[in-house]
C-alpha cells in the first residue's frame, strides 16, 4: 500500500460515466470531454443512449452512458475497455462493470445501492459490500448524501438538488484527472445567466466532488499529458452536426441555397434538427409528412435550382428508393444521407450497423447507378458531406452518403477548416442568355447534362421519370435509345473515379495481408492495425470512403496482397460488392452484427489468426 497519492501517467485513458437516463450523464460526459480537449488532449467520445423508450427509473433498459477516450497521441476510437468507470446506480453498475479493466478505477454512489434499487436490476446482494472488488481501485462515495448536504442551504428545491448528483461525480472525475474547472464554471455561469443560484449550486456540487477527491487517502490519480496536435482552431463535433455543416458548406461554396426535405428518424433526426437551426445561414428545412415526401420535396427543390438534400436512416432509405430513381432518371443533383442503424425492419433503432450498403448500391428497380460515399469518423462527416454535395452538383446526379449511428453520435475534436480552403464547386447551371437548351445534351467529354431551372428565360422544357430521348430529353420507348441511355447513366457514375483521390494504403504497399474497412469502422481498425504493427506484424490497411465508384487504383492495390481481409459490421456486404468487381482477389471477411462497434481486442485476434494461417 502506498501512503502518498501516486499519479499514473498514461498515453491515453478511457473514462465512462453511467447512470439513469434522468441523471444527466450526457451533460457530465460532454463537460468532461470538452474540458479535456481544451486542456490539450485528443478526445473521442461515444454517447450510449438508452433504448428509445424511457424505461422505468433504475432499470438496465434506462441506463445512459457516455464514454470518453482522452490521450496525448492520435486516438481514433472511444476505446473498448475503460480505465475509469463512474456509476450512479446499480443498473449502471450491472450494465457496465464488465467493461472495466482489471486495475481500473470505479467511482460509485454508494447511497444509490439500496435494496430497492438492487432488486430492480435483479441483484440479490450489494456488490459494493458483498463482492470481491479488490481487482479495482474502488471509490465508493456517498454521492447522494454529499449532494444533499452541500446544496441544503442553496435556494433550489429538493428535486433539483438530487439532479446535481452528476456534478458531484464530475467533480470527483475532475480531481482524478486534475482537470481545470474553469471551462465548466464558465459554461454554467453563461447557461444560467438568469438563474445564478442554479449555476452556483452546480458549481458547488462540482467543487464538493473535487474536494472529496483531494481528501482521499491512498488513491491513484491519472495524468494524461497534452497531445501533440496540429496547429489550428478546434472544436468538438459529432457526426450528425458535421454532416449538416458539410452540406451547408457545399451549398455556400456552390453559391446555392440549401434545401433539406426530411422526416425524423433515429439516429438521423439531429441532421434535420441542426439544419432547422441554420436559418441563420439561409437553410430551408421542410419537415415532411414521411420519408417519401422528404425526398420528393427535395427533388422538387432540385428541379427548382436549390442544393437539395434529404436525410434518413435505413427504413427511410427503403421508402425513398422509388424516388431516388426519379432523381437518377431526371439527372438532378441531390444528396441522400443515410445514418445506418441495426436492421432489418425497425430492428435496433439506437444501435449502429453498416448493413445498408447493398441497399444503397442496388436497392432500386431497374439498372440505377448511383455514387455512394461513406464517412469514417465523426469529424470527417463534414468532409464527405461536402464532397457528396460537390459530386452531386458537378455531375448532376443523386449521391448517397452513408454514415452510421456510431459516428453520428460520437464526437471528435475537429480542426475547423476555413471556407476559403475548401475545394471549389462548379454547378452545371446553364448560363442565361443562350438561345436553346437541350436538357439531355452532354457537356463535351463528359456524360453530364446542364441544369436549367424554372425562372430562366427560354429554357422551358419538360423532364420526368419515363425514359428520355438522348440529347433532347423527350419521352422515348425506343429499344436502342433505352440501351444508350442506360449506359450513359452508368458511365456518368463510373467517370467520377477520375474526380476522387487515389486509394492509400497504411503500411507496406504489398505483402501477405491487407486489412480492408469502409465507413465508420475506421477508428477501431486503424487502432488495431497500428497496435499490431507496433508488435511488428507485417500487415497493411486500407480504408474506403469512396464506395461507388471505387478509387481507380483499387484493383492494383488488391493485386499486391495474398489475402484481403474485409472487416465490416454486417454479414459481409462490402465483401460481396468487392467480389462482383474483382473476381481475381482472395477476399475473406470478418463481420460483426451486434449493433455495437468492433473492439480493438477482437480485431487484433482476428487479424493475427489470418497472419498465422
Amino acid at each position: 500500500m502506498e501512503t502518498q497519492k501516486p499519479i499514473i501517467e498514461k498515453e491515453h485513458v478511457v473514462i465512462k460515466f453511467a447512470g439513469d437516463s434522468g441523471d444527466g450523464i450526457q451533460l457530465t460526459g460532454t463537460q468532461f470531454s470538452e474540458t479535456s480537449a481544451l486542456m490539450g488532449n485528443e478526445v473521442v467520445t461515444f454517447p450510449d443512449y438508452p433504448a428509445e423508450i424511457r424505461a422505468p427509473k433504475g432499470t438496465i433498459g434506462g441506463v445512459s452512458g457516455f464514454q470518453i477516450n482522452i490521450g496525448q497521441s492520435d486516438i481514433n476510437t472511444p476505446g473498448d475497455y475503460v480505465d475509469v468507470l463512474v456509476v450512479l446506480n446499480p443498473a449502471a453498475y450491472k450494465a457496465n462493470m464488465h467493461w472495466l479493466k482489471t486495475g481500473g478505477t470505479l467511482i460509485v454512489d454508494k447511497d444509490a445501492f439500496t435494496d430497492k434499487n438492487l432488486e430492480k436490476v435483479g441483484l440479490l446482494k450489494n456488490p459494493l459490500t458483498d463482492e470481491d472488488l479488490s481487482a479495482y481501485q474502488v471509490i465508493s462515495a456517498p454521492i447522494t448524501s454529499m449532494t444533499q448536504e452541500v446544496l441544503a442551504d442553496k435556494e433550489i428545491d429538493r428535486k433539483d438538488i438530487l439532479r446535481s448528483r452528476n456534478m458531484v461525480a464530475l467533480g470527483m472525475a475532475y480531481w482524478l484527472f486534475q482537470r481545470d474547472l474553469s471551462y465548466t464554471e464558465e459554461y454554467f455561469r453563461e447557461k444560467f445567466k438568469k438563474k445564478p443560484e442554479v449555476a452556483e449550486a452546480n458549481l458547488a456540487a462540482i467543487k464538493a466532488g473535487y474536494n472529496y477527491g483531494e481528501n482521499l487517502q491512498f488513491v491513484r490519480s491519472y495524468k494524461v499529458n497534452r497531445a501533440k496536435i496540429e496547429k489550428g482552431t478546434y472544436r468538438n463535433i459529432n457526426g450528425n452536426i458535421a454532416t449538416t455543416w458539410g452540406l451547408l458548406a457545399a451549398a455556400e461554396k456552390a453559391g446555392l441555397q440549401l434545401f433539406l426535405g426530411s422526416y425524423p428518424i433515429t439516429p438521423a433526426s439531429d441532421i434535420l434538427q441542426e439544419m432547422a437551426k441554420r436559418k441563420d445561414v439561409g437553410a430551408i428545412t421542410f419537415q415532411a409528412e414521411d420519408e417519401i415526401a422528404g425526398i420528393s420535396t427535395a427533388i422538387g427543390a432540385s428541379f427548382a435550382g436549390k442544393f437539395a438534400c434529404t436525410s434518413t436512416s435505413g427504413p427511410g432509405l427503403a421508402l425513398k428508393s422509388e424516388a431516388i430513381n426519379l432523381a437518377i432518371m431526371t439527372e438532378l443533383p441531390l444528396v441522400i444521407v443515410d445514418v445506418q442503424r441495426g436492421g432489418p425492419s425497425t430492428g435496433l433503432p439506437t444501435k449502429t450497423e453498416q448493413s445498408d450498403l447493398l441497399q444503397a448500391l442496388w436497392g432500386r428497380n431497374g439498372d440505377s447507378p448511383i455514387p455512394v460515399i461513406a464517412a469514417s469518423s465523426p469529424s470527417n462527416c463534414f468532409e464527405f458531406a461536402f464532397i457528396a454535395g460537390k459530386i452531386a452538383l458537378e455531375n448532376m446526379t443523386p449521391v448517397i452518403l452513408l454514415t452510421d449511428g456510431f459516428i453520428a453520435n460520437g464526437t471528435k475534436p475537429w480542426k475547423i477548416p476555413k471556407m476559403e480552403d475548401l475545394p471549389s464547386i462548379t454547378t452545371r447551371l446553364k448560363k442565361e442568355g443562350d438561345s436553346e437548351y437541350l436538357p439531355y445534351k452532354r457537356i463535351e467529354g463528359t456524360m453530364i447534362r446542364e441544369w436549367a431551372v424554372p425562372g430562366m428565360k427560354n429554357y422551358e422544357h419538360r423532364n420526368g421519370g419515363l425514359e428520355k430521348v438522348a440529347v433532347t430529353g423527350g419521352v422515348s420507348y425506343d429499344p436502342i435509345n433505352h440501351e444508350v441511355m442506360t449506359y450513359e447513366r452508368l458511365k456518368k457514375v463510373q467517370d467520377i473515379e477520375h474526380q476522387i483521390p487515389k486509394q492509400k494504403v497504411h503500411g507496406p504497399q504489398s505483402g501477405k495481408l491487407l486489412v480492408v474497412g469502409w465507413g465508420g469502422t475506421y477508428g477501431h481498425l486503424l487502432t488495431a492495425v497500428q497496435e499490431l504493427r507496433e508488435e511488428k506484424m507485417d500487415i497493411s490497411y486500407t480504408h474506403f470512403n469512396y464506395i461507388n465508384p471505387l478509387p481507380s487504383n483499387t484493383e492494383e492495390i488488391f493485386s499486391k496482397y495474398e489475402k484481403i481481409l474485409i472487416c465490416e459490421m454486417n454479414t459481409g456486404q462490402f465483401f460481396s460488392y468487392l467480389r462482383t468487381l474483382f473476381p481475381h482477389n482472395n477476399f475473406v471477411k470478418y463481420t460483426k452484427v451486434q449493433g455495437f462497434p468492433f473492439t480493438i481486442t477482437e480485431l487484433k485476434n482476428e487479424i493475427k489468426k489470418h497472419l498465422e494461417e
Binding site: 468538438n236 451547408l248 439561409g282 427548382a304 429554357y459 419538360r462 423532364n463
Partner: protein, 336 residues
C-alpha cells in the same frame, strides 16, 4: 409576379403531340389552362407545371412551360418542394383521382394542411385511366371495373369534403367541358394565396364514359349543376327558377322560386370568404345539383411565404452570417 406579357393560348402550346383518346375530357381542360395562363400576366418561364403519373399527368408535356412529369402520387410533395424552394414561381400541380387521392393521398392532405401556395388541378374521372380501368377512390359504390368485376364495395371520397376537412383555404369544382367557367376558376386560383384545389369532373370516354352524364347531359344539365360566385345568389335551372336556401337546422335545401312562397330574395348569397368552413363543406357535399365554381377561398398564411419570412427574420438578428461564422462560433480552442 405580374408583368406585361402579351400571350395568347398558343404561346402555351408545346410541340408535343397530344396523346389523349379522342373525346377525352383532358383535352378541353388543356385548352382552358392554356387560355387562362395567357391571361395571367406571368412570364412564361415562371410557370412550373408538376404532375404525377396517369393519363392526366401527361399534361406538362403539352404546356410550353417548365414541366415535370414525376412519379405516381408524389406530385403534391414535389410541387410543395418546388414552391417552397422558390416562392416566386407559379406552381401548378396536375393530378388524377388515383394520383392525388389513392397513392398520393397523404401528400395531398399535407400540402393542404400546410397551405403551400400551389394550384392543384385534380382531374377526377372516377377511374384509373392510364392503367386501363381499375376503380379509383372516387369510383361509385357498386361500380363494375376491371378490378371490381362484381362491383366495388368501397365508398368514394368526396374530394371537396376531404380537402376542406384537411383545412383547405381554397376549393373549387368544375366540369371539363365548361371551358369558360373553368378559365374563371383558374384565374381565381392564381390570385389566391395558398393552396388552391380545383376538382374537375372529367370524362374518361374509354373506361368510365358518362360517369357524370347525370350532371352534364345537354338536355338536363342546367337542372343538375349550379355555378356559384362569391356575393351572388345561388340560383340555377334551365329557367333560372331554382336555388339553394338554408334549411331549418343544419343544411341547405333546393327550392323552386314561386313554390311554397319562395322568392329569389330567400336564396342564399354565396360567401366563399367566410372563415367557417360549414357552408363550404355543405356545398361541396351537395349531390344534386352538383356545385361548381369557387366554393371556398379564404386567406390563411402560406407555408412557403412563412418559411422564407422566418429565414429572413432569423438572419436579420443572427450574428452568424456564413459558414465561417458558424464553424468558429461557440466552444473552440486553438493550438499554436
Amino acid at each position: 409576379m405580374e408583368t406585361n406579357t402579351n400571350y395568347t393560348f398558343k404561346d402555351f402550346k408545346s410541340s408535343a403531340e397530344v396523346r389523349w383518346c379522342p373525346g377525352c375530357g383532358d383535352i378541353a381542360i388543356l385548352k382552358a389552362v392554356q387560355t387562362a395562363f395567357a391571361q395571367m400576366n406571368i412570364p412564361k418561364e415562371k410557370f412550373a407545371v408538376i404532375s404525377g403519373i396517369g393519363c392526366s399527368s401527361r399534361f406538362p408535356y403539352y404546356m410550353n412551360t417548365y414541366g415535370f412529369h414525376t412519379i405516381h402520387g408524389r406530385a403534391g410533395a414535389i410541387a410543395s418542394g418546388v414552391k417552397t424552394a422558390n416562392p416566386d414561381l407559379s406552381v401548378w400541380q396536375i393530378t388524377g383521382d388515383g394520383d392525388a387521392l389513392a397513392i398520393g393521398g397523404n401528400h395531398f392532405i399535407h400540402e393542404i394542411r400546410r397551405n403551400v401556395d400551389v394550384n392543384v388541378l385534380l382531374f377526377n374521372n372516377g377511374i384509373y385511366g392510364l392503367t386501363k380501368g381499375q376503380y379509383s377512390p372516387t369510383s361509385k359504390y357498386g361500380q363494375k371495373t376491371k378490378s371490381s368485376p362484381y362491383g366495388t364495395v368501397e365508398h368514394p371520397f368526396n374530394p371537396g369534403e376531404l380537402s376542406i376537412g384537411a383545412g383547405a383555404s381554397f376549393f373549387a369544382r368544375g366540369i371539363d367541358v365548361n371551358v369558360n367557367d373553368n378559365i374563371d376558376i383558374l384565374l381565381a386560383m392564381e390570385k389566391h394565396h395558398g393552396i388552391a384545389i380545383f376538382e374537375i369532373l372529367q370524362n374518361c370516354v374509354i373506361f368510365n364514359d358518362g360517369a357524370y352524364s347525370y350532371y352534364t347531359d345537354r338536355e338536363t344539365k342546367d337542372d343538375h349543376q349550379i355555378f356559384i360566385k362569391h356575393g351572388e345568389k345561388m340560383i340555377f335551372g334551365k329557367n333560372k327558377d331554382k336555388g339553394l336556401m338554408l334549411d331549418k337546422n343544419f343544411g341547405i335545401k333546393v327550392v323552386k322560386i314561386g313554390e311554397n312562397g319562395v322568392t329569389e330574395n330567400d336564396l342564399l348569397v354565396h360567401d366563399a370568404k367566410i372563415m367557417s368552413p360549414i357552408l363550404h363543406y355543405q356545398l361541396a357535399g351537395l349531390k344534386d345539383p352538383v356545385v361548381t365554381g369557387v366554393i371556398r377561398s379564404v386567406e390563411i398564411e402560406c407555408y412557403d411565404y412563412a418559411v422564407h419570412k422566418q429565414i429572413k427574420d432569423v438572419q436579420s438578428t443572427s450574428k452568424i452570417k456564413n459558414m465561417n461564422d458558424l464553424m468558429f462560433s461557440g466552444t473552440t480552442w486553438t493550438v499554436e
